[in-house]
Every structure is written in C-alpha cells, then in structure tokens.
Symmetry: C2
Subunit: 230 residues, 2 copies
C-alpha cells in the first residue's frame, strides 16, 4: 500500500488482507475507471463504468481503439479503478448517522498494453470468465482480426486499498431511546431468469448460464463457484 | 450537453432525455465521484463511492470535513460523478461480442458548498429521502452541531450525459448458427429482510422500511414509489 492509497479517514475501515481484496474484485461485475483527461487548464477527471477481470495480481481492462478512455489509458497515464459492492443500507435513529455497508477496492497505477497475441487471447478469455464462469469453452474462438482490433490493458494491483463498513447503525448514546426503527436493509445482486436471443429460444439453458441465473434473490453478489457448471 | 460530455463512441447509446437522466439518478443508490488529487507531476485521479441525492437540476453530496475528497471537492475543482445501473449480462455467440446492458449518467462540473443552515438541513433531508423515502419524518431533527460538522456540496446537472445499452446480443451474421446459447441474464438489486438493531428487535418494522425491503428479487432497481409508505 502506497502513501496515496493509505486511508486518512476512518482507518478502522481499512482492510489489508490480500485475499479479501481479491475476493471483492472477483465478486464485482463492474469497475468505475477514472483518469485525467485534457491538459493544463482543461485537465478534468473522467469516470466510466467498465467490465474488468482480475488475473492474479493484475486487473484486466479491454475495449475498442475507438474508445477515448482506452486510448488515453494505453498511453500510460495514472488510473484509479474502483470496485464497490453495496451490502446494506444502515438506518440509524438520526439522519446523519445513516450510512451504508459496503466493500470497496481502489486500485491506482498505470496500465500497460498487452500486445502479444497469445497473452491477449488469454486475457480476453479471463474477461469473459470473470463475468460468466465456464463461458469461454462454449463460444467460438476469437478471430485474429477481432483480437487485433481490441485494446487489452493490464494494471498491477501493487497500489491498492480496501475499505469496508459492516455492522449495524452507530447511534449517539442519548438517541437509543428514540422511537425510530433502526437496523439494516440488506442489499445484493438479483438475478433473473435467462432471456434467450432470437434463434436460441428453443435451446435448453446450459448449466453455466442456469448456474448464474438460478433465480432472483442472490443476496450479496453472484452465486458461489460450484463444481458442476456445465 | 457540453463538448466534454458529448460521447465520441457509440453515439447511438447516448440519451438526451432529461426525464431519463433524472430517472437513472433517482434509481441509483451510489455514485462514483472522481477528481484530480495532487498537483503537477503528482496529479492523479481518485474515484470514491458515495451516497448522493438529486435535488431538481443538482446533485447533492455530503460528508465529513475529515474527508480529503470532500475538502478537495469543496474548493471548487472539477468533478466527474458517475451513476451506473447494471441491467443485464449480454451473452453472445463469440467472446468479444459479450457485453452488458446498463444505464449510466456522467455529471461533470464544479460543486459549491451549501452553507446556509436551513438550506443545508433541507439538503441533508434530501440525502436521506433519496435512499429511504419517508425516513426523515421518523428520525429526530439534526442537531445544529451535526449540521455545522458536515460538508454539503451541490453540483449542477448542466453538464451531463447518459449512455444506455439495451436489447440482446449483436452477433456477426455468420455466427448465428454457432451452438452457444445466447441471450440475456437480467441483473437487478436484491433486497433482503430488514435486520433490526439491538433495542429495535421487538419493534414492528414500519411501512417505510418494509416498503423498501418487501422481499428479495427486485429486478432493475428499487421498488417503485407507492402511496402508502407509513
């Protein structure tokens, strides 16, 4: 953890456990990627949602060369990639003690482009597998032109930090007799029944899809990895 | 919409409908707030998750004066606030056509601090009401010291843009015979049963809480506003 990512505020919410950081990144579906666009007086922050994947001690990002954000990031500018999982709304007995329970990982650093063809294909497979485990073996192999026409970036997890809030509301002691109901409303990811594309309507839903979509009400994220995801 | 927020890429995904932008901001629970920290060679982006609220044509943010991000934002630097709702995973017949359906609003600009006491109290109420409609009338009134000890910022929606992806996978025509199942896995917000705080365990769950938490499986966001949220 660098000085930049050391948390000044509420250090008790800081987590340094590498496995915990990996777990948040593996559970998240979307990252918010920030960089500084423009120069001089025109310099301003830009924050864009992106799919991502973790590959060991790196984050992978990808996109079209037509994407200004990807082209800028490829040039090696500083990035800040944040993945946040919302776990609960925290209802306290006073307005200002309302809060949320969450797990959030912030990764800072400069990305480098993966240009080696085989490494790029492997990274693109990781990106699909991150979102839908078991998927890559079921779709056709990427064409060389598709791979060439995609930017893939890798960002080391060297400079990253995690912040977590758990538990119930923290009220002022003198507020504990207030009549307001206090507690948590748990929040997670809901998954609906798969909707087949035209032409796929009569196909049985395969295991790796049904696995993801085994019904709504998956609180706190995606279903845990299971043995049989055929 | 300014030149900065005009989307260069996939302009067909751009939405200029003011009501649609408001709807995304009203449905979202969390924003990712980006700014440029440091100066000169040390300038780097920082992206932090925050609760927020919409108040007409402004976004409201708040936090402690101990928060470095809030202190920096208060000074009037450029911000980029992004709210993203994930609606579906898009499974195509080839890896690189996999995508996600989402609605995302990006707001750029400089925030100003709300210092007038009454306006600040109203803004803090809006922040609670955004997350839990009907809540402010059930908690005690904020103490003056609490209000003084909180930074509240307002950011105009003048410079904002929305990007949306809907619909099924867009496959190459020659891939339509591929055996891979293709379609959508809908994603939304799951809401669990309320967990009462110590001391509130025997209290009946009030309507404004039960309303939010009326069971898991709320696909595509929070429950719609209802008449009776007592």
């Amino acid at each position: 953890m660098s000085d930049r990512t050391r948390l000044r505020r509420k250090p008790d919410r800081t987590v340094e456990d590498r496995d915990a950081i990996h777990a948040v990144l593996d559970e998240g579906l979307m990252a918010h990627v920030g960089l500084v666009a423009g120069e001089g007086d025109d310099a301003h922050p830009v924050v864009i949602p992106m799919l991502y994947a973790r590959d060991g001690e790196h984050l992978l990002l990808h996109g079209s060369p037509a994407s200004r954000l990807l082209r800028t990031a490829r040039a090696g500018v500083d990035l800040c990639v944040t993945v946040t999982l919302l776990d609960a709304l925290v209802l306290a007995r006073s307005g200002l003690h309302h809060s949320m329970n969450y797990r959030s990982v912030v990764v800072m650093g400069r990305a480098t482009e993966i240009t080696d063809h085989a490494a790029k294909v492997a990274a693109l497979d990781r990106l699909v597998e991150h979102t839908i485990p078991g998927r890559t073996s079921r779709v056709r192999v990427a064409h060389d032109a598709e791979v060439k026409g995609t930017i893939v970036l890798t960002l080391p997890l060297a400079e990253c930090s995690m912040k977590v809030r758990t538990g119930g509301p923290v009220d002022d002691p003198e507020d504990l007799d207030e009549p307001a109901w206090a507690g948590l409303i748990p929040i997670g990811v809901a998954v609906g029944a798969p909707i087949p594309d035209l032409g796929a309507a009569d196909d049985p839903v395969p295991g790796h899809v049904a696995f993801w979509a085994r019904g709504p009400g998956q609180l706190n994220g995606r279903p845990p990895p299971a043995g049989d995801t055929t």
